[in-house]
Each structure stands twice: as structure tokens, then as C-alpha cells.
């Protein structure tokens, strides 16, 4: 049975009001933490290391007061792709990947396909790393308003303005892009419903009939692009109508100040990063 509501489950880019500690810390602190944790994420290949990191990310989600189930529901549309990648890794990595901290053991082999303890570990660790990044990014946008995000990015890029980095423009582009994700999801839902009303069939064909699904995409992509260009034009006109000229010399009503807690949190994350990265070769599995 088809259901058009899943599009609203786009959790990335959606802000949820709240008063948790995660909501209240300075947006620059949040971005810094996310960046540090992302660096750790890219260094750590072991199961133990990722378990620690995943636990930290989970703790952040719990602290934010946003329902865990809802957070995960945003992944539903991507599940088939994730499943395909996981299966490919599991069967086709073969002996190419030696398991972290263990001897290679082959469990099963058939032609070019094989399952080893290495490929099993790889699948699990990849999924964990994916979840960590997913939690971090969704949490950042879920607990920070786009204005705060823009402000944070701009103020973090300010020192680089000396080297002609267009700090304000970069943060503006980022904000607009994020802001439009839920709008396009909504528009896509409307277009899907309209096409279904005149006979298009998005539910049938099964998850894996790619050709059929791709052909159906045209009925959605074309109207969506037309709409996107229209919205972009409207936005430009609206900005010009309000005499928008760019970031130079613009002042702000709200100014953030980094407090002691922010410095403590960043320092703690940094220490964690240094420890995890320097011990990364000493984890047991």
C-alpha cells in the first residue's frame, strides 16, 4: 500500500523547538563538537572505538529530548540503499579486508563471493559510522534554528575574511539550502499526490524495480525543478525588494557569547579526540 507521508520524515534540516541543554549551548560550540567528532569518526575503524563514539552520539540524542524513534524514522526511505551497500560489502570484500585486530577467518565461500570475519566487521563498523554521522548532523539541525546556524558559520569564518573568504555569502547559501529541504519535501509530496490522482502508480513495482521507478521519477523531477526555479526567482526578488546588498556592514540584534561551559565542553571533546585517535591502534577489535 502506498503512503505519501514518509516524505515528511525528512529529519535533516528540520528544526524542533525545545529547551534541552543541547538546544541551549552556543551554536558555534555545537558546530565545533560536530566537526571534532566527525574527525574522530573518520579515524576510528575499530568496533570498540565506534561503540564508544556511537554511545556518545546516542547520549546527545537522549539529552536533546527528541524522540529516538523519530530520529531513526528519517532513515526509512534510505533503507533499501543501505541494505544493498551492506550486502555488497558483506559478500564481495572477500579477503581484501583483514579484520581489525584479529586473524582472518573465512566462514563461507562461493565463487567470487565470500563471508569473512573481516567483512562482517566491516559491515557493522560502516553502519555504526554512518549512524554516528547521521545522528550528529540531524541533531545539529534539529536543535539549532537556521538563523543561529548561519550566524555561527559566519562568525567562525570571520577570521578568514582577511583571505577573501566570503564568510557571509557562504553562510547564507548554506542557510538557504537547509531551509529549502523541508519545503521541497512538502512540494514533492503534493506533486506525488497530484500525479497519483491521475493514474501514476508509485507504490507498485516493488522496492527494487529500478527501471520502472526511474521512469516514474520524471513525472516528479520535472515539476519539482520548475517549482525550484520559481521559488529561487521569488527569493531573489524578495531580497532585492528589501534592498539586500550582502553582509558588509550588517549588524545583528542578537549576539552570542561563548561562556565557560562552552569552553569546557570543547576542551573535553578535544581531549576525547586526542585520546581516541592516539589509542586507535590499541583497541582489541
Amino acid at each position: 500500500m502506498e503512503d505519501f507521508e514518509f516524505l515528511r520524515n525528512v529529519t535533516i534540516g528540520q528544526y524542533f523547538q525545545g529547551d534541552s541543554i543541547v538546544h541551549r549551548i552556543d551554536p558555534r560550540t555545537k558546530i565545533t563538537i560536530v566537526m571534532i567528532l566527525a574527525v574522530i569518526n573518520s579515524f576510528i575503524l575499530s568496533f570498540t572505538g565506534n561503540a564508544i563514539l556511537l554511545a556518545i552520539c546516542t547520549a546527545f540524542v537522549l539529552a536533546s529530548g527528541i524522540s529516538f524513534k523519530f530520529m531513526l524514522s528519517g532513515l526509512t526511505p534510505a533503507l533499501p540503499i543501505i541494505a544493498i551497500f551492506a550486502l555488497m560489502q558483506l559478500f564481495f570484500y572477500g579477503d581484501a579486508y583483514s579484520p581489525y585486530g584479529m586473524e582472518l577467518v573465512v566462514f563461507w565461500r562461493w565463487g567470487i563471493m565470500s563471508v569473512t570475519n573481516g567483512s562482517i566487521q566491516l559491515v557493522i563498523v560502516t553502519l555504526m559510522r554512518f549512524l554516528e554521522i547521521y545522528f550528529l548532523v540531524s541533531l545539529l539541525t534539529a536543535t539549532t534554528t537556521t538563523t543561529d546556524l548561519a550566524y555561527a558559520i559566519e562568525s567562525m569564518l570571520e577570521p578568514f575574511q582577511r583571505f577573501r573568504v566570503p564568510a557571509y555569502e557562504i553562510s547564507l547559501i548554506g542557510t538557504i539550502a537547509l531551509r529549502f529541504v523541508p519545503i521541497f519535501a512538502e512540494q514533492l509530496e503534493i506533486i506525488m499526490k497530484a500525479q497519483a490522482s491521475r493514474g501514476a502508480d508509485f507504490g507498485g513495482g516493488g522496492m527494487f524495480r529500478f527501471v520502472k521507478r526511474t521512469r516514474q521519477m520524471a513525472t516528479l523531477i520535472v515539476p519539482l525543478f520548475v517549482d525550484a526555479f520559481r521559488r529561487a526567482e521569488d527569493l531573489i526578488l524578495a531580497m532585492e525588494a528589501r534592498c539586500y546588498t550582502g553582509g558588509e556592514g550588517r549588524t545583528k540584534i542578537i549576539r552570542f557569547r561563548m561562556e565557560r561551559t562552552d569552553h569546557i565542553i570543547i576542551a573535553a571533546t578535544l581531549i576525547l579526540a586526542v585520546m581516541m585517535i592516539s589509542f586507535r591502534n590499541h583497541f582489541p577489535v
Binding site: S73, I190, S197
Partner: protein, 290 residues
């Protein structure tokens, strides 16, 4: 008068919650009841966010009800999971607000033929369907079928989109604020063509519109929905004779009806609540000449 007496749409105590179980959960319907008979023209009015669009999306299965309440279309229960939804969508055509946003083919004719093609109709029959649908909305078949979709004017695009739904030959046509945002003349033209579909082809019409003048001139019966519930249900004339009650639901009445009720307050009662300027004129002449 209730059409030809065959009930084609039946909605009974319908409930619906969007995004159930998420932080953004909204209960949009809390008990909507309505029925529509074949050949009728029925209106649904209500303030913004009342749940009108949610109701009509249940009628062609864009939203399937899994909550308390029943939706029965042409004798088929919509909560039945074995139901073939495409046949329902063919029977019940739904046109949204700004339908021109759904166009995607390069040529007008191809876009209108999309639905019939999906039904697996042979070429010749498809062509006939497209011709008929274009005629119904007032687009000349030979002149428009090979025009580029995106080079049309806004009004023509809208007509193309409506023709795309009509090409499925629905028994019930639902218009969800589909005439907003076009010029008054184009709007009158479109409305009279849509009325013609009802008069000449017996298509049942369900109109959702924020414009009371438009509703008054189109429909026989009205359902008023407020906060997800059916709160009023009567003939158009009876509904617009109760401006006080409508105001409570954030709605107004057509200007002529308002003038008539003001005249009645001043002791100059009209024989009936006029719905259109023509009706009011007729009644006033009758009063003056008697």
C-alpha cells in the same frame, strides 16, 4: 433534490492524524460525516486548516484511513487493503490548488494523455479521450495538442492540468481550491465549463472553495467543516441564511445574501435568501411590481 438517489460517496465519523507518533503530530480530522449522491454538486467550506483537503484526499485514497471512521466510494470500503486503488482514482478525480505545477511532459497532448496511457488504453481511444478532455476545458485540440507545455499561459496550463484528470473520465470530480489565482473572467469561464460537466455528463462535483460567491453559484448542498468536524450540513440556501452561525466558524456569506439579511433586519424581508445577484434582482423586481 439529491441527485439520482445513488449514494456514491459516504464518509462516516472519519478521523485522521498526520505524522502520528512524531513530535509534529497533528490531528486534522476528529469526526467528519458526509454523503454525496450521484449527479450532485456539493460544496465543502471551512476556515483555513479546518481539514477540507484532508477529507478530500481520503476520497480517492491518497490518504487511506487506518483510524476510526469509514470511507465508502461507490460501494467499496476504502479501508479494505485488497482494494485496487487505481480504479478508485479513475472514478474519483481530484484536482489540487495550482494544478499546473504537476505538468511534466513537453507537449500538451502528451501530458493530458498520461492518465489514459497508464490505464493501458489503445492509441485511438487515448486520442479521443484527450480530444474530449481538451474540449471540456475549452482548449482547441488541433491548436493546442502540439504546443509546448511550458510555453502556455498560466490559465492555459491550469486547463491542461484539469484536462489531464478529466481524461480519466471520472464519475466524481473534486476541486480543491482549483480556481484560485486566475483572473475573474478565466475563472467564470472555467466554472461554467465545470458545471457543464455535471449538467451534460452527469459527473458528480465536490467543490472546496474559499470564495463564498463561487460556492453559492455552483453547489446544491454544503458541508461546513470546522476543526476537523462536520458542523453544518444543509442546502446552499439554508446554510447562507445563517450568517451568524457561519461567522462563528470564521466564514462569511455571499455579499448579496448579506445584503438580504441586513434588509430583513430593517423589516424588508425577501421571499428567499438570494445566492446570486441575478436571484436578488429577480426577487426585488417581484417585490417592487407587486
Amino acid at each position: 433534490m439529491k441527485g439520482n438517489g445513488r449514494r456514491i460517496v459516504e464518509v462516516n465519523d472519519l478521523h485522521h492524524t498526520y505524522l502520528r507518533g512524531s513530535p509534529l503530530e497533528v490531528t486534522a480530522l476528529k469526526g467528519v460525516t458526509m454523503e454525496v449522491y450521484e449527479g450532485e454538486v456539493v460544496g465543502i467550506i471551512g476556515r483555513t486548516g479546518a481539514g477540507k483537503s484532508t477529507v478530500v484526499q481520503h476520497l480517492n485514497g491518497l490518504i487511506r484511513n487506518r483510524e476510526p471512521g469509514k470511507v465508502i466510494i461507490d460501494g467499496q470500503d476504502m479501508s479494505d487493503t485488497s482494494l485496487d486503488i487505481t480504479t478508485i482514482r479513475q472514478k474519483v478525480g481530484l484536482i489540487f490548488q495550482r494544478p499546473e505545477e504537476q505538468l511534466f511532459e513537453r507537449l500538451v497532448g502528451d501530458d493530458i494523455a498520461f492518465g489514459p496511457k497508464k490505464l493501458g488504453m489503445p492509441r485511438e481511444e487515448r486520442r479521443e479521450r484527450v480530444r474530449w478532455a481538451m474540449e471540456m476545458v475549452g482548449l482547441d485540440f488541433d491548436r493546442f495538442k502540439n504546443r509546448f507545455t511550458f510555453s502556455l499561459s498560466g490559465g492555459e496550463m491550469r486547463k491542461t492540468a484539469i484536462a489531464g484528470v478529466l481524461a480519466l473520465r471520472p464519475k466524481v470530480l473534486i476541486l480543491d481550491e482549483s480556481t484560485t489565482g486566475i483572473d475573474p473572467r478565466g475563472r467564470r469561464d472555467l466554472l461554467s465549463r465545470i458545471k457543464g460537466l455535471n449538467r451534460e455528463h452527469g459527473i458528480t462535483l465536490i467543490c472546496v472553495s474559499p470564495n463564498m460567491e463561487e460556492v453559492a453559484s455552483m453547489v446544491d448542498r454544503i458541508y461546513v467543516i470546522d476543526d476537523g468536524r462536520t458542523v453544518m450540513n444543509d442546502t446552499t440556501r439554508e446554510i447562507f441564511a445563517r450568517p451568524e452561525e457561519l461567522r462563528r466558524y470564521g466564514l462569511g456569506v455571499p455579499q448579496v445574501s448579506a445584503v438580504a439579511s441586513r434588509l430583513a433586519e430593517k423589516g424588508l424581508a425577501m421571499p428567499r435568501t438570494p445566492l446570486t445577484v441575478a436571484e436578488a434582482e429577480e426577487d426585488i423586481w417581484r417585490i417592487l411590481s407587486s
